[in-house]
């Protein structure tokens, strides 16, 4: 943003060339979503109606109908959305506790093996979860964790990126606060809870979003670890729906809208916490 005058394109270029270009690009990214939304809120029989000849009504519904949503909500889908919310919610809460404790141990406490333990965290973060999901699913079956909420939640709790981010933030909190609290006889737990966590609101929001997105986007893992339909998460339920012999376009679009809109509603207002913090955690040491 901080570009100086002489390097900035002239006003003419900015308004006549770059702005229309930016609008065009934005439109390309948003059109598939508009089409999805329009197809979900129109009468199901109209979904394929405006394709040939193609008309603008493909993305601008003129007749609205909640039929697709009502049909979808009658089936097992609401339960799957609830499962996703439960799994993501529990992961965020438990993950924040586990990851912030680890970050505290790696930034505020001093001990000899700190470097080694930090390396373990970084290395395990380098092995992406999906790569080892299939052997882990075999292990989870021998540990009897298949078809359970615990089985869905557990792999999401220890998140290397969240630990990394919180550690960076904790390192920026003045050391004097720790020393003063120790002189006052505060316990470590108290220093962690009422000094570090209390001062780390933005970092906790960022880490919470990372944990949430990981679970909400999960597909391979819930596919592997759940065979009982009552425990299907939303994305798996939606994918199974496509696999049915005579699936209904309207309901599929309605389900897609629901699964897409929940993270958007959470991410967009909190965007400033999400993107830059991950970006900086990734970019800086």
């Amino acid at each position: 943003m901080s570009r100086i005058q002489s390097q900035e394109p002239s006003k003419l270029i900015r308004y006549a060339v770059l702005t229309p270009l930016a609008m065009l690009v934005a439109a390309l990214f948003v059109l598939p979503l508009l089409w999805m939304l329009a197809s979900a809120v129109r009468p199901p029989r109209d979904i394929l109606r405006y394709l040939s000849p193609l008309s603008l009504r493909v993305i601008v519904p003129t007749d609205y109908s909640t039929e697709s949503f009502r049909a979808l909500l009658d089936g097992p889908f609401p339960r799957a959305v609830a499962n996703s919310l439960i799994v993501s919610g529990v992961t965020v809460v438990a993950g924040l506790v586990v990851c912030s404790m680890a970050a505290f141990g790696l930034s505020v406490l001093r001990f000899r093996l700190r470097g080694v333990l930090f390396a373990v965290v970084v290395v395990s973060f380098l092995v992406p979860f999906d790569a080892i999901a299939i052997p882990l699913a075999s292990l989870f079956r021998t540990w009897n964790l298949q078809n359970s909420y615990a089985g869905l939640v557990l792999p999401g709790i220890g998140n290397g990126l969240a630990i990394f981010l919180l550690r960076q933030f904790f390192l920026g909190i003045p050391w004097e606060l720790r020393e003063a609290a120790l002189v006052d006889g505060a316990s470590w737990w108290r220093i962690f809870w009422s000094i570090y966590l209390r001062l780390s609101g933005p970092a906790l929001v960022s880490a919470g979003l990372i944990l949430f997105v990981f679970q909400w986007q999960a597909y391979l893992w819930p596919l592997l670890i759940v065979s009982n339909q009552r425990l299907d998460v939303a994305s798996v339920a939606l994918a199974k729906y496509l696999g049915q012999f005579d699936f209904d376009f309207g309901q599929l679009f309605a389900g897609a809208v629901i699964v897409a809109i929940i993270p958007m509603l959470i991410l967009l207002p909190l965007q400033r916490f999400f993107a830059p913090s991950i970006a900086r955690a990734g970019i800086k040491d």
């Binding site: 100086i4 002489s6 586990v98 395990s124 958007m264």
Partner: protein
């Protein structure tokens, strides 16, 4: 002054273990143990140690070799394309334009959508007979395309949908990187009479190396492990054209039920991925 500090150090190690224990247990159990388990299973067959037999079998198998090649080609084409696009978008949307924030948010929007949902929506759009893409092509007079149903077009179609879903994410990192560059550099270049392109190539790009390195590595890993669109749209076909490695492993373990071969494949996936990432880091570090 420092006397007070020495006393709690031993104590601190014990406290640190308690604070770190839950996360370390989780990381070891859910990341490191399964990797080790895959290695152990990959050198066994029906409970007996068979050395590298499973790996030899894989390297002789056409279907696995094809899957490995497909995945490497997929990455070799897609990674540079996505990063180039993300960089172009970052440079465009960092300009002071009317509505810049809105355009940026709209490009970012697909990132919030789970990849599986994007795959389903694009899958319907790609349908040859009643899909919206062929309807759009008809308007400009292009004949119907088979998209996901053709061995030639299926992989490029998946590349297109993966880019739509992912480019906004990488753009955010590059925007953050561009914003971190002190304006004095561009100022100095301007004083020297350098044009925009020269300033970009000789000043901006080198200063953007760290975020670019991060994006390159993370994007490579993401594309290497791409699974949902293949599983839900093409199931590796037509004629194995989209049989990317993650789907190959899944198929080996769950369709063919061969856990030994699937484990060997997991090990190959991890090794190739780590090797590619390592080489990328080295390249980005040494040049310049």
């Amino acid at each position: 002054m420092r006397v007070g500090r020495r006393a709690p150090l031993g104590n601190e190690a014990a406290v640190a273990v308690l604070f770190l224990a839950p996360a370390l247990i989780a990381l070891v159990l859910f990341r490191i143990v399964p990797t080790g388990y895959a290695v152990v299973e990959s050198v066994r067959l029906k409970g007996e140690f068979v050395g590298l037999d499973n790996y030899r079998f894989l390297l002789d198998s056409d279907s696995f070799r094809r899957s490995l090649t497909t995945t490497l080609v997929f990455g070799a084409v897609l990674n540079p394309a996505q990063i180039g696009l993300a960089l172009a978008l970052a440079v465009l949307l960092i300009q002071r334009l009317p509505g810049a924030r809105l355009w940026r948010t709209l490009v970012f929007l697909p990132v919030a959508v789970p990849l599986l949902v994007s795959a389903l929506v694009w899958g319907i759009a790609f349908r040859p007979d009643d899909g919206i893409f062929n309807a759009v092509l008809a308007v400009v007079g292009v004949a119907k395309q088979p998209f996901l149903t053709s061995p030639d077009q299926a992989l490029p179609s998946i590349m297109l949908l993966a880019s739509w879903a992912g480019v906004g994410y990488w753009m955010i990192f590059l925007i953050a990187g561009l914003q971190d560059i002190p304006p004095e550099y561009a100022e100095a270049a301007a004083v020297d009479g350098a044009g925009w392109w020269r300033t970009f190539r000789q000043i901006t790009l080198p200063l953007l190396r760290r975020p670019l390195a991060f994006v390159l590595v993370a994007d490579t890993v993401a594309n290497f492990l791409l699974f949902a669109p293949v599983q839900v749209l093409t199931r590796g076909g037509p004629r194995e054209a989209t049989n990317l490695l993650m789907f190959e492993v899944y198929r080996q373990a769950y369709t063919f039920g061969d856990l030994a071969l699937a484990s060997a494949e997991v090990v190959v996936v991890v090794v190739v991925m780590v090797a590619v990432v390592f080489v990328q880091f080295r390249l980005l570090r040494s040049d310049g």
